[in-house]
């Protein structure tokens, strides 16, 4: 899978017309239209009927659009969602590779019926059971459609009988497992550091940024934002900061000079740091990530410019 930038995934209920209408205004990299937990069963048919019109609305600001579906209702949810403009689905309740294979097959059928390129719809897996977390490797590798994986912490608490408290993180191990296994399988881990995964309400903008930065530094590549106030801090925290760019460009320049002289360990002037192969590699990777983030931001800017 080509590297992609999806720092923020704004979650909005597909039944809430006002939320959907506003969803493109927050500069999220992705918008998730929810057909699952925020839509009562009796409302599902109406919410599904809204999806086709909601996709281009959510995409107005250049966001990729996903629909969160129920595993049990996947057939109806997917056929209602697979319209051009959709990037993929967010799957909950997956516990085995077979669960993913079933969804992949349904997506293939829907692609064919709706004239969407074969294999183009992605899957974001949100694990929400002990079995799902344990089986993460078989789940992740069950389909090339899987682009990202995370924990649905609220559901996982209910499943495991955990009463959440802000004081400690019940999912240190589960998050570690998600981050390691997904990156090992070249997929992106999505999630946020405690307590925001279970207590997303936060009025303090600084604190939102601090938690978003911490999410990046435990290894997450993107965040599911339950509220628009999380989008900006997540976009900012998951983009390499401008002040580091000069440092990394200088790192690469000094290392190239050193290599030309026949040494691969070069002191960085004014610091105790030695530049060697991995330091140079980090500089390269960080600059490349910054380029991708900048390109993604430019796409979103261009989409907004087309509206005026």
């Amino acid at each position: 899978m080509e590297p992609f930038v999806r720092r923020s995934h704004l979650l909005v209920s597909a039944r809430d017309g006002a939320q959907v209408d506003m969803s493109w205004r927050h500069a999220a990299d992705a918008v998730i239209l929810d057909l699952a937990d925020t839509v009562p069963d009796v409302e599902k048919p109406r919410a599904r009927a809204n999806i086709k019109a909601a996709i281009p609305v959510a995409a107005r600001g250049g966001a990729e659009v996903f629909v969160r579906i129920n595993k049990e209702l996947a057939d109806a949810d997917i056929i209602a969602s697979a319209w051009p403009g959709l990037t993929g689905v967010v799957l909950t309740e997956a516990e085995t590779a077979a669960d993913v294979e079933e969804i992949a097959t349904t997506l293939a059928v829907a692609e064919k019926e709706h004239g969407i390129a074969n294999g183009s719809l992605s899957i974001i897996v949100m694990l929400d059971s002990g079995k799902g977390v344990w089986n993460i490797r078989q789940i992740l590798t069950a389909s090339p459609r899987i682009c990202s994986v995370g924990l649905d912490e609220g559901r996982l608490c209910r499943h495991l009988g955990i009463v959440p408290t802000p004081a400690f993180d019940p999912f240190v191990y589960a998050k570690g497992r998600v981050i390691i296994e997904s990156r090992a399988a070249k997929r992106q881990p999505v999630g946020i550091s405690h307590p925001a995964g279970l207590f997303p309400h936060c009025d303090d903008a600084e604190e939102r940024y601090r938690l978003a930065l911490r999410s990046k530094n435990i290894g997450f590549a993107g965040v599911i934002c339950p509220d628009p106030s999380w989008v900006e801090p997540c976009n900012r925290a998951l983009t390499p900061s401008d002040e580091r760019l000069e440092f990394y460009r200088e790192t690469r320049r000094l290392f190239a000079e050193g290599i030309a002289r026949g040494t691969a360990a070069i002191p960085y002037p004014g610091t105790t740091m030695m530049i060697d192969v991995p330091v140079d590699e980090r500089a390269r990777l960080t600059l490349a990530l910054w380029e991708r983030c900048a390109a993604r931001d430019a796409e979103k800017q261009a989409a907004l410019a087309r509206l005026t």
């Binding site: 290599i259 040494t263 740091m273 991995p278």
Partner: protein, 317 residues
């Protein structure tokens, strides 16, 4: 395999003579000569010709000699690295059991060519990527030459996880857990470390190194290593039991022997419960203390002999 003492060790580019030629003066328990990241691509072939000299330099101080090869071409590096005096090949960025089996075969062949007793050379599998952590168990169990193991931390690991290095909390907590469980499940020595906050990233900070070594010793961990000569003494001292700890361990063992004679399995010494687990911990500490003393004597003897030789002006190895 005999238990090794490796409180301190320096990793250094094998192609930098000013490091290699002074390596024996550093008083490290082990030395790790590098073919990998500290050696530029253009020097790799030259580096392979320097092993015999590097081993001879390191042995002047009685350090255990290990060598880090490149993961991409072990078939080129191993025959050059395996010479008498080497005790371990370190394989960086280990990711699969297949790599370990391949490395084991290459070492077996190189031992044969060099006339080294089969099975002498150990493998150190360095876990530095997310795939390596994910495959920890398979990697650690892939060769009997692997007798110790730890989880993935450090610079390469942080890069693969997309995290910054010195953020003031442990980004590698899961990796440490996996490494410790795998090591213990397979009966290997766990050579990992506890997390000590570090927001500076200064590789030559004596105080921080000492603090970290003390924290590890108190957690029962025994292994260290570093890049800067300043790390050596703080680790030699910090990972060696103090005289008070040795005395306390002797007291615990004596008390437990007394309990045993009385047909008891546990009792309280100064308000602390002593049982067979506490006794085993005390016995391990005494064993470790004796091994440290032995290692220190070996190193001091070798360094003194080398200095005397140099003073007498006779030709060096």
């Amino acid at each position: 395999m005999a238990r090794r003492v490796r409180r301190s060790g320096l990793t250094m580019p094998i192609n930098t003579p000013r490091f290699v030629d002074r390596s024996w003066t550093r008083n490290c328990d082990y030395l790790n000569f590098d073919f990998e990241d500290s050696v530029p691509q253009s020097q790799k072939a030259h580096a392979r010709t320097l092993v015999a000299h590097a081993i001879a330099q390191g042995l002047k101080g009685s350090a255990d000699i290990t060598l880090r090869i490149n993961c991409a071409y072990p078939e080129a590096d191993v025959p050059a690295a395996v010479l008498p005096g080497l005790i371990q090949i370190n394989f960086p960025k280990a990711e699969t059991a297949e790599q370990m089996r391949n490395l084991d075969q290459l070492i077996t062949e190189a031992e044969r060519v060099q006339g080294i007793r089969p099975g002498t050379i150990r493998i150190g599998a360095n876990i530095e990527t997310t795939l390596g952590v994910a495959n920890s168990y398979e990697i650690a169990s892939a060769s009997p030459r692997i007798d110790s193991f730890s989880g993935g931390t450090g610079y390469d690991m942080s890069m693969d996880m997309g995290v910054e290095m010195f953020v003031g909390f442990d980004q590698f907590v899961y990796n440490r857990g996996e490494g410790a469980l795998v090591a213990k499940a397979l009966g290997l020595e766990y050579t990992g470390s506890v997390y000590v906050p570090d927001t500076s990233g200064n590789v030559g900070d004596r105080d921080l190194t000492r603090q970290r070594a003390e924290a590890n010793r108190k957690a029962g961990l025994r292994a260290g290593g570093g890049l800067h000569p300043n790390t050596v003494e703080p680790q030699n001292v910090g990972l060696t039991p103090t005289p008070e700890e040795v005395q306390e361990a002797q007291r615990i063992l004596a008390y437990f022997a007394q309990l045993d004679e009385q047909g008891e399995v546990e009792g309280a010494l100064d308000g602390r419960i002593i049982d067979k687990y506490e006794a085993a911990r005390a016995a391990e500490l005494l064993e470790w203390s004796a091994l440290c003393a032995q290692k220190d004597a070996h190193k001091a003897g070798a360094q003194a002999r080398t200095k005397a030789l140099e003073a007498s002006g006779r030709p060096q190895a």
